[in-house]
């Protein structure tokens, strides 16, 4: 068999989907989009901004209050607090990246 014959034969091996295939895909897609939109989180840049703002404000508050009420207050404590909050952010970003990768696979 020559190249053209094989081509003709393989073209005939094309399998057709069911008639309602496209409608099923679009229905499934609409259903998924509506479920997703109901549990939609903030966009990533807003989450990052939120975390940074929370870190700075809570760090200052923590520092101000602790300095007034705790006699032997160590200023390293609010820094550790800020570090913990930023580690939390890192964790959230990691989760988001993993979810995106899993979606793509």
């Amino acid at each position: 068999m020559n190249e053209n014959d094989i081509k003709k034969i393989i073209k005939k091996s094309k399998v057709k989907t069911k008639a309602d295939f496209t409608d099923n895909v679009l229905t499934k897609l609409e259903a998924e989009c509506s479920t997703r939109s109901s549990i939609k989180l903030w966009p990533l840049h807003q989450i990052i901004l939120g975390f940074v703002a929370f870190t700075v404000i809570s760090g200052f508050l923590f520092y101000g209050l602790s300095k007034n009420y705790i006699p032997d207050f160590n200023p390293i404590v609010p820094l550790l607090w800020a570090l913990m909050v930023l580690l939390g952010l890192n964790y959230v970003l990691g989760l988001s990246k993993q979810r995106n990768l899993a979606d793509f696979k």
């Binding site: 094989i6 034969i9 094309k14 496209t22 895909v25």
Partner: protein
Amino acid sequence: MVDNVADKDSELVHQVQNGDMQAFRILVDLYKDKSLSLAISIIKDEHLAEDILQDVFIKVYKKIGTFKFRSKFSTWMYKIVVNTCYNELKRQRNTVPIEENEKPFDHTTSPEGSDKLTFEDQKAYIQKGMQQLKTDEALVLRLFYLCEMSLKEIEAITKFKASKIRVDLHRGRKNLEEQLRQLLGDETKHLL
């Protein structure tokens, strides 16, 4: 011709990226049959392949925003089809022992005469012949002849080496011919 198809695809992709569902419907209609043929090369079960393909199109819709037009849309699309099917195959092998694809031939269904071989019969025999091929061979043959992908594009889609693709193409052609001869005997010439 190929460029026209690529241009049309790019236009449709732009429209889908701008939220046009009608354009997405056209894309699905354009690619569903060839994609199903590819999926069947890997999955072998038509119903399961069709279910997987539905998920593939949903994945394509969700990720179409990340498509940067660095390759043809068809290459990107078939890559998702192939990856998803191989992942599903891997998942199935880890959970349920599935039947090997080399099933014995059913010679009782051989045609009695060439005049009885309708277009639908021809298709059925060819599909049967394709099913007997090894997964990689059937996939490469369909990508090359049915989807008209170049060797480079097949390399990008399957991540096979160029040498393996050439070998699979050669063996696939030879084995398909042999399978059809076993199924149809001298009637093979009436397939053309």
